[in-house]
Amino acid sequence: ALLILLAPVFAFAQQKISGKVTAQEDGSALPGVSVRIKDSNTGTQTDAKGNYSITASQGQVLVFTFVGYTTHEVPVTGASTYNVSLQFTRTALTEIVVTGQGVKREKRSLGYAVATINKEDIGDNVSPINALTGKVAGLNITSGYAPGASSRITLRGPTSFNGNNQPVFVIDGIPVSNDNIRNSDFLNDQVDYGNRGNDINPNDIESITVLKGPAAAALYGSIASNGAILITTKKGKKNSPAQINFSTGYQLSQVLKLPTFQNEFGQGDLDAIADDRRENFSWGLPFDGKVRPFGQVINGKQQLKEYKAIPNNVKNFFDYGQTFNNNLTISGGNEKSTYFLSVGALNNKGIIPTTNYNKYNIRFSGSSEFSDKFSSTVSVGYTNISSQLPLGGQTNSVYNSIFQQPRDMPIVDFKDLSNPFNGTFTGADGTQYYGYYGAYTKNPYFLLQNYKNNNSVDRINGTFSLSYKPVKGLDITERIGADVYADRRYEKGAKYFYKPFEQAFYGQNNWTDNGKYSQDITNYLQFNHDLIVTYTTTLAKDLNMKVLGGNNVRITTNNNLFSATNGTGGLIVPGFYNLDNSNGPINSTNTLTQRRLYGFYGEADFDYKNMLFLGFTGRNDISSTLPTNNNSYFYPSVNGAFVFSELYKDKAFSDVLSFGKVRLSYAKVGQDANPYLLQTTYAKTSINGDFGSIIFPLTSNGSTIPSFSRGNRIGNPNLKPEFTSSFEVGTELSFIKNMINLDLTYYNTKSTNQIVDVPIPNSSGYTSIAMNVGEMTNKGLEIGLRATPVNTSYGLRIEVFGTYNKVKNNVVSINEGINQIVIGNGTTAMQQVAAIGKPYGTFYGTGLEIDPASGKVVIDTATGMPHNSATRFYGTYLPDYMASLGANISYKGFTLKVLFDTKQGGQFYSNTKSVIDFGGYSIETAANGRKDYVFPNSVYDDGTGKLVNNTSITFHPERYWTRIVPAGENLIDASYVKLREASLTYSFAQSMLKRTPFSRLNVVLYGNNLFLWVPKSNQFADPEINGQGAANVQGYEFLSNPSLRNMGIKVDVSF
């Protein structure tokens, strides 16, 4: 019999309920949130201000859902207002990512690894590149963290011997320049002018998507063979009244790591004049605290000071860096259009007196729908940079000067250059003198006053797109964009000649420079056009297809004009910085580089039951830089994904493994050559030695003789495109209702037929030849983990995340006859190479001679000193692995974020070590009280050719550190752990803001690059600093700008 089911009758009164929905992370209003009454068909959406109203009865439950946020349920209890803040979430189920050519896809459908960093995670870093550190498995970023400093970014290891190894930067679908143009002479005039990828204002970024390898980047073609960094800028929201956001920040910076100094011995040279007051050496007598005169005797006077260590004399030289960061944005929209305008100002005073960096950004974006079928978007950014930057390196560098001061020298006391004991003055007879104590180094404040490096950059990039949707499923989009900048660099060196006042003792050690003035002006243009047609359709039940076809045209023009006053002649009139003031012919080069490319590409994606996905891409490029018969090349990719959790989504097991996917991809990316590699040419003659050069024309017997010389590179009309292929397999797993998310990838990348300017023996008559050579592989494992172990109803939420990334790079082959290629610029004593059978970036130079049998150092029986070895291989700068670990903890209005990251393994060359060992400032030079001792772990030849353990033959430390120590001894372990980021945010609750004009108010205390832990052997420098910026040569700390610890406060309000 049928049981009659009775429906209960509840007589609750219906009531009108309203409220506001905001985002928990920043308190901003969330429009478009779905508000539903549970188990009913009633529902509404929040408006542009995040407000909603709905009619519900007590006991019913309101369900708030919004893509990208956790679903929130609120029982109706009788109150009439329910304000809800939604927690941002990452879930593999719904995440939308931007892929090649700006196509938005559900992440679940992709057969390759991508990572997206949302604005919430960019943090308060002034560099958008550095903001990615530790957040994406497979990313390797190196930077010094000063505003405007270079950041090198690589994905999944280097693929090219001496070409570009960095990913392409794309802003709103348009590739933009990330150039890092440096002086070739990093030894002497090293100025870090930064890289263009850091120009964008981080405040304008909505999200950054990292396409890690060729698979992800196949549609962009050549330029994305090392992956792509896709930056999506913020946009206005539809149906939103004007929203005004203002943030202001103040940041303090200091040097993260200074060398460890000895504090036992002061100025002098025990092997010569023990208390030599001219010396930069700290090889003098032990400190005794007694008052002694020091420096020159000027007009019968001499300075006095206590003979004792000043432990912080170097540290005290540096100021606190100060950065003001102000940003204003206005955005909004109506039903058909949106707008967004942002203005940013970054004003920095550097840690080195007189240096600064200022950046101004303006960005406008808008969109409009003209009709149901036509719509368009525009996004334009302008950047202006003006800066005054310090010199690094070995000649007139501030670092060289401050690191070469005896341990008893009060460096900050030398600031007043009008004091004759610090600066310069004119003698009674008109002679120009310096009165500074040091005969062998100059006063750092004098250098700051006399050497200036100015940079100014104006840059505009933007994109305009027009879309037409004639019928359902079909979309035709035309997008054009350009990136244009002028980068102007002005370097000034003063002309002066000062004799030491006390010439009898200070001798020939004059302060002299002929001066210089140079202009280095680059005008860059990149124009890009894409016409993209997409068609989406359902082929059969549960089977969807999306096809895309496109055409790309890209034009890049780079015009550089470098002009400098005569290299040796310098300036004529001191203090007049103009090319007209050149003492001798101006050195000038103009370089025009043009490349053009057009390509056709296509993509087809199939989706079966939202479970099985298959994608194909293909692209054919035709490039101006390759020989006509070889300039067209095609490259395909295929990827597939299987969301196997779909198979059991209704089973209980889905609570344990709530999402599971495996993916597989294979891709190939072709690449063209650099321009002008096909011919051997002739250039104006200039002949260079270790120092100095001859530059034609030459005046000889009264007439001017011009000269040209054969170009050093053999051109190759038979070049072919090069290819990088990549195989990738991975899985994405979510456990326990997405509480734990795991992303695992293994990949194998192979670069072949690389177009390399191969260095060849000069006995061929040339130094290099352009060729297709070699093979290099990268095998890597990437793990990304994100878990939310605590997520309570009372508001406490703890999220932890981490990455692990191991890449094994191997140079498999180069070319017959060539075993290694020097990468970029090293020094003659220590080079960096790609050598067969070794990882990229291996160091190659001389070190101490080691007995292969015992592994001990071979010493000279007579002197106890080690012998120098023949040139040999050391380790690479590439780390063994990288990892990061972070946590986001939020409770009520508070959010605490911390992020640690580490690189383990790898080596770097520290010139700071070389300098401070040489001068006797480092702690290792004070070992054994500087008395002769047995060289640690050494052996010697007992006279019969047998090497025996040394326990008795001692060496003289000063002689070793000042004369013997070879380059290999300056290589140190580059491992580190850093507290990369930490921040504490407090968002004021809506209730507290009622009486204020603000709809939102956040206060953030933050820091980045905060603490550094290194192995004991590294008493010298942060392994992340590099004298060659973002170039392929890494791990050369050559008295470069030190890295900074930054701490700041930011207030962020909306009206």
Binding site: A272, G507, Y598, Y676, G692, P761, S763, G765
Partner: protein, 466 residues
């Protein structure tokens, strides 16, 4: 098609004629001689030593140069000089400008000899063919003995090609002789004499054969030294001074008087001491023992004079010419050939005296007459051949002080004269070892599969010195 047609290099020339290549090619050679070779030679021929107040050339006095230290000089010789001379030869042949071919061939011989004398076995027969139709990227290394055979043939080819009456010849673009082919012929003869004598110790028969073929030939005439002038304009200065005065070294006086040479001049009352060494800033003339830069400086040491290009504080250094071969060198060579009996006609003492006299004249030093008659200076007419050779080579060494440093060091390696060289006090390569050869440059060791697997030791000897 048009759209992509932007790959013609707008920054360099596609082709240039021989007369535009010659000046740069010659300067590649003189730059090597005047820069690295002047420094290495100056220290190893014990004219100069490292100043104790600075450090730039410690490793040379320590006898531990790095192989990377030889990269630039190798590049100057192989690419700046030899490859461009090769292009002059090719273009001269193509346009029937045979004096260009002859001149460039002579300088190629000079540069090749320099290379093999410094590094021993070097690429020769397969060199300079990087852009040939069948290109050779990795030239093999030839035995020095074979290279010398080749050089003799090559210099004879060039000598026979010269037509002093040819209307088509180089002009001011020849920075050494202004295109005077008669001078080049005498230069070529002298060069062949030098080549022959270099083998005198190792293979006297071969040497004699080469030298005897020159009987009756004319050698470099007085006042006709082969040299290239430089001037005070930045980028056109003497290569040694240009380096010292540049923005990196900033006029630091690294090179100062070595007691080895300084005392020789002093003890022989040789007025040339003031031509080759200047007063220290305190007005004194003084020197320090070779390689004693590590000892406490007791005095300010004399620098080389501007005539050598090596005085950091005298802008006149910019004008110092680089000497390729000199009239006095030609006479010392003839003196030696005569003592050995391979050239006849003029007695050896005439050549010896002329050698010294022309050297005094070249540097405008008075007092030749008083100097040459002293015991210990005058030609040992009654001595043994060995004593005569010692006198000749020692005087040649004195004559080359500061201006032909590398040749003086090479002649010491061949003959052991002067006999009073000391082991540098700064040496860290073990007792009784002295430099005998250059290390192959890093570029060859790492790029040329045909290069020897291991580098020389700096105290090894080249074949003709063994």
């Amino acid at each position: 098609k048009k759209f992509l047609d932007v790959n013609t290099d707008p920054n360099n020339a596609v082709d240039v004629p021989a007369n535009l290549l010659l000046p740069g090619a010659e300067t590649g050679l003189t730059y090597a001689l005047g820069n690295t070779l002047a420094i290495n030679g100056g220290i190893w021929a014990q004219y100069w030593t490292q100043n104790p107040t600075s450090n730039q050339y410690n490793s040379l006095d320590q006898y531990v140069p790095a192989q990377g230290d030889f990269d630039n000089v190798w590049l100057n010789l192989q690419v700046d000089a030899l490859e461009n001379l090769q292009k002059v030869v090719e273009k001269g042949n193509a346009t029937k400008q045979k004096e260009y071919v002859a001149l460039a061939t002579i300088l190629k011989v000079y540069a090749f000899q320099l290379t093999t004398d410094l590094w021993g076995d070097v690429p020769y027969s397969q060199t300079l063919q990087g852009d040939a139709v069948t290109r050779i990227l990795f030239p093999k290394y030839d035995a020095q003995s074979d290279i010398y055979d080749g050089l003799v043939k090559m210099i004879d080819t060039a000598r026979n090609m010269i037509d002093v009456n040819d209307a088509v010849n180089p002009g001011p673009d020849d920075l050494i002789y202004g295109g005077k082919m008669d001078k080049w012929l005498r230069f070529a003869n002298t060069l062949k004499l030098k080549i022959g004598l270099r083998l005198a110790k190792k293979d006297a028969a071969r040497a004699a054969n080469i030298v005897k073929s020159l009987q009756g030939a004319e050698f470099i005439r007085p006042g006709e030294s082969a040299m290239q002038n430089f001037n005070a304009t930045g980028g056109q200065q003497n290569p040694l001074y240009g380096a010292i005065a540049g923005p990196v070294l900033d006029k630091t006086q690294n090179l100062v008087a070595s007691s080895t040479a300084f005392n020789f001049f002093n003890e022989n009352n040789d007025p040339r001491i003031f031509a080759f060494y200047g007063p220290a800033p305190n007005g004194n003339f003084s020197s320090i023992p070779q390689g004693s830069f590590g000892n406490p400086p007791t005095t300010i040491v004399s620098p080389p004079t501007a005539i050598t290009g090596g005085d950091a504080n005298d802008p006149q250094s910019a004008f110092a010419p680089v000497r390729v071969m000199t009239d006095y060198e030609a006479n010392f060579l003839q003196a030696e050939a005569t003592v050995r009996g391979w050239l006849t006609g003029t007695p050896a003492d005439s050549f010896y005296n002329r050698g010294v006299r022309y050297n005094f004249a070249a540097f405008q030093v008075d007092g030749y007459g008083d100097y040459i008659v002293q015991d210990g200076v005058k030609y040992p007419s009654t001595g043994t051949d060995a004593q005569k050779l010692e006198a000749i080579i020692t005087q040649k060494w004195a004559a080359m002080c500061g201006t032909q440093n590398i040749e003086a060091w090479t002649e010491w390696r061949r003959t052991g004269f002067p006999s009073f060289f000391i082991v540098s006090q700064g040496s860290i390569i073990g007792a009784n070892r002295m430099p005998g050869i250059f290390l192959y440059p890093s570029s060859e060791m790492t790029r040329n599969v045909n290069a020897p697997k291991t580098n020389h030791f700096v105290y090894d000897k080249v074949w003709w010195a063994q």
